[in-house]
Symmetry: C2
Subunit: 211 residues, 2 copies
């Protein structure tokens, strides 16, 4: 079975019962994530997805457009996962933040984990690249993730919410890098604990100031 992005395949349908466009996207997602974007050529994607070259170029005007589609799809899956994890009823605000770490714990320990698709995208398509569509998609992801965490902790009304957002995002992105560079089953739990302690310390400082 193919995997897609950091968090696996969405439905279980096999490749050859899908429409050509979807077959291309799945194959490309798998190869891009496993190997990196620049090291996978169109020819290989076409061969492994069992699609004709002209069919590919009918659906995607260029490789850059396929990359952008891959990144947009990965972003959608990831934010969907974040939403279901954090929007469980009955969770406190702090628990919602910690739920992010609980949600990524297992995927990051998977043998197939290769880091954050967008941090890796930034490594290949930085400011000096000539692929505005790809770069814009990556930039939007980071902006959206930042806004997500900011609005998540907003109910806490912390004294320095901006700092807390930076710390939480750093612990998440740090987990991604660590998980692929120095595998250890306790990485995410360690950073979950760090996030909990940081938030509870901020809250304690708040209530102390009130008294």
């Amino acid at each position: 079975m193919q995997t897609r992005g950091e968090f696996g395949n969405v439905d279980g349908r096999s490749l050859d019962e899908l429409a050509p466009r979807e077959r291309v996207i799945r194959t490309a997602s798998d190869l891009f994530y496993r190997l990196s974007i620049n090291s996978v050529g169109i020819d290989r994607i076409i061969a492994e997805s069992g699609v004709a070259k002209m069919t590919f170029y009918k659906h995607f005007p260029s490789k850059a457009a396929l990359i952008a589609t891959y990144l947009r799809d990965t972003r959608a899956i990831w934010f969907q996962m974040l939403a279901t994890a954090t929007e469980k009823p009955g969770l406190s605000t702090v628990e919602r933040v910690l739920a992010i770490f609980d949600a990524i714990d297992e995927p990051l320990q998977a043998r197939t984990f290769r880091g954050c698709s967008f941090a890796r995208g930034l490594a290949e398509f930085g400011p000096e690249a000539n692929t505005p569509e790809v770069q814009a998609t990556i930039a939007e992801y980071f902006k959206e993730l930042h806004e997500f965490v900011a609005s998540l902790i907003e109910p806490l009304a912390l004294g320095n919410p901006k700092r807390a957002v930076i710390q939480i995002l750093s612990l998440i992105q740090g987990s991604f890098v660590m998980a692929q560079s120095i595998p250890d089953p306790e990485i995410v739990q360690a950073n979950r604990e760090a996030a909990r302690l940081l938030l509870e310390n901020d809250l304690a400082a708040l209530s102390k100031r009130e008294t």
Copy 2:
């Protein structure tokens, strides 16, 4: 002036007064870091370093060997910087850890900062790549960095030093990713504060247990 890796040029000599081999390394380091490794070809490195192709292949048996040299040099510079920052006399153990954050604060805010060369290397040369020399160099870096932080906090005799190492490394790597994705002058300071709070909390738990 050329920059080399995350932390700038070492000496100020201009390119054309250097030996060919060094000229190649400097040019390659600059291009690899600014653009990514796979998107920079040998021809461009040769052209911009003003060296003949045969001279290049006399000094480096392959492009992979040049990449490994680039990574090893970057690693040496980075660990040299870590050593001078943390080995200042009169610092407490906690202050030595925080000195890492102080040392990276300014470089990470530089307009030319493009993230950690090794995390980016991992993005391009993951487990399925066919470049053992490059992959080994990257793996060695992460192992060495892990050991550096582990031995740095060893004098604290924490109850769970492994967890503290993960947290500190995650905050560092998280800073690298954040600095290039959502630039903000307070990123490193925020994570420095996080590291301080985590360590001091661990130490407080220790002294409480002793009493």
